[in-house]
Amino acid sequence: MTRRSPSQTIMIYSLALLLGAVLLAPVLWLFIMSVSSTRDLTALPLTWIPETISLENYAKLLGGGGSTVAESFLTALRNSLIVALSATAISLAVAVPAAYSFSRLPGRRRKSLLFVAIATFMMPPVAIVLPLYAMMGELGLLNTHLSLILVYCGILVPFTTWLLKSNFDGIPMDLDEAPIIDGANRLQVIWHVTLPIAKPALGAAALMAVLMAWDEFFYALLFTNDIRAKTLPVAIADFAAGRVADYGLISAAGILATIPPVALAYFLQKSLVSGLMSGSVKG
């Protein structure tokens, strides 16, 4: 069907090249900056390809050696990992039974509750951040991982519930009946029947949750102000705001913060796309 004229073919390939360049160029430049010396980056006119390539910035960030830069970067990395993984694990544990309930045991009021849940994670954070800040202060939780884990659960639980619900809807209900008749309770059904079938969806939900938590900035900025719990986005914003504009170092920090989510996204590309789809288009 698609017999194209040569001019159409040329157009398609030029547009494809243009798109590739637009997608890749900024990130490629970030990488080049990260391996360049300040001298090359501040040369006028800019030469694009650095004279010397050095991994010095990466060594500074990762090398430790007691430098404050390495210390703040590595602890932020660790904080981000702890917060993102804990929040994801808790959220899934809460979201799976909830999604099952919405999908298998529907009711009018529960249907409205699903919409309340969706509205919850779409609400602007400014709507709740002031009381949350006060509450965390009273509980002595500011500057702790727990404060961020709790708040992220508030976003991730409704989100993953919704993702999983739309997936559970696609699993035939008959499968639940036999074990129920045999006297299994619903939690056993979820564990032995639903989850094994829904593994890909669970993977997609976990992936989306980790990416969202890894990316979160607003609460992290407000609830943490030292290395005890400061996450990577906040540390990078600090680097970028520093008085000494070390472009190479900032870029290297950016590249390092990008590697985990990009690796995850590509490793689980299919899950990501299906997660994005069901997370935005299905009710």
């Binding site: 045991l105 709507a127 986005p233 989510p261 990009v262 996204a265 796309v273």
Partner: protein, 295 residues
């Protein structure tokens, strides 16, 4: 052993979720409403009992800076979301064609989405740099620009440049959603249109458009809700400057409450933002419901 009724089981399974929603969102939201009627101050807790009635709201609505932050937000939302939809649909149409390297390009589309928001903001801030930025270097070297400009330092261009960085990161989401919809169009359908002598525009209008309009409108509303909340990218790129030209409503609330420490007044601004968001979210839920019914 007596069996619990289905309804009881259903609510038990939902209980942990409801506790989290109420604890982390519901209760704080009610507290925000309470704060908005008080003179609460960030570092002196006793002030949260000082009832001031509607004073905060009256001040908020009369505040010219807040009104201009609403204007900035509307500009940001309209410009970035419409560009994201337009680019996203065009890119999806391209990626739906057959050509060598298509798989690679489809994978590459994910890159901006996976890039952390703060890294994206920092990356573009460096690219826009007034003294050594790559954008200035590129535009002067190809002869499009006579001398280096301070893209983010100029109130007339700063917000547009921030929006461009946002567009780069988010048009791929629209592209992926649209592409998934395009892939549901059967070849027979397109061929039938072709045999009927439909030209490219007619094929788009009668076959492609009906297939993508629902998911694209969902993406449109979803992006609008997200763009309306914009904070991270502004904080990292411009901190609301220069001359408040990139100050959006979220940033305004942040400043009022955490820089000026006026929690009561910040809460009243926040509630106005929530009301606007709530209207957008209602539209979104309506669309979802309608799709759920037709699907």
């Amino acid at each position: 052993m007596t069996q619990m009724s289905k309804t009881t089981v259903a609510w038990y399974l939902l209980a942990p979720m409801m506790i989290i929603i109420v604890g982390v969102a519901g209760y704080p939201l009610i507290k925000t409403v309470y704060f908005s009627f008080t003179a609460a101050h960030l570092v002196s807790p006793d002030t949260s009992d000082q009832w001031v009635g509607l004073t905060n709201f009256l001040k908020a609505l009369g505040n010219a800076k807040f009104r201009s932050s609403i204007g900035n937000t509307v500009y940001f939302v309209v410009f970035s979301v419409s560009a994201e939809i337009l680019l996203g649909v065009l890119v999806a149409l391209l990626l739906n064609q057959e050509f060598h390297g298509r798989t690679l390009l489809r994978a590459l589309v994910i890159l901006p989405l996976a890039l952390p928001t703060v890294v994206n903001a920092m990356m573009w801030r460096l690219i826009y740099g007034p003294d050594f930025g790559a954008l200035n270097a590129l535009l002067t070297q190809v002869g499009l620009l006579a001398e280096y400009r301070s893209w983010l330092g100029d109130p007339s261009s700063a917000l547009t440049m921030v929006a461009l960085a946002d567009i780069w990161k988010n048009f791929p989401l629209v592209a992926l959603i649209t592409l998934a919809a395009l892939q549901t169009i059967s070849r027979d359908h397109l061929e039938a249109a072709l045999l009927d002598g439909a030209n490219a525009w007619q094929r788009f209008w009668h076959v492609v458009f009906p297939a993508i309009v629902a998911p694209v409108s969902v993406a449109l509303v979803l992006r609008t809700i997200e763009a309306f909340k914009v904070f991270d990218i502004i904080y990292v790129m411009t901190r609301g400057g220069p001359a408040s030209s990139t100050k959006t409503v979220s940033f305004h609330v942040y400043q009022e409450a955490f820089a000026y420490m006026r929690v009561g007044s910040g809460a009243s601004y926040a509630l106005i933002v929530v009301l606007i968001s709530a209207a957008l979210i209602a539209v979104y839920l309506k669309l979802l419901q309608r799709q759920g019914e037709t699907a």
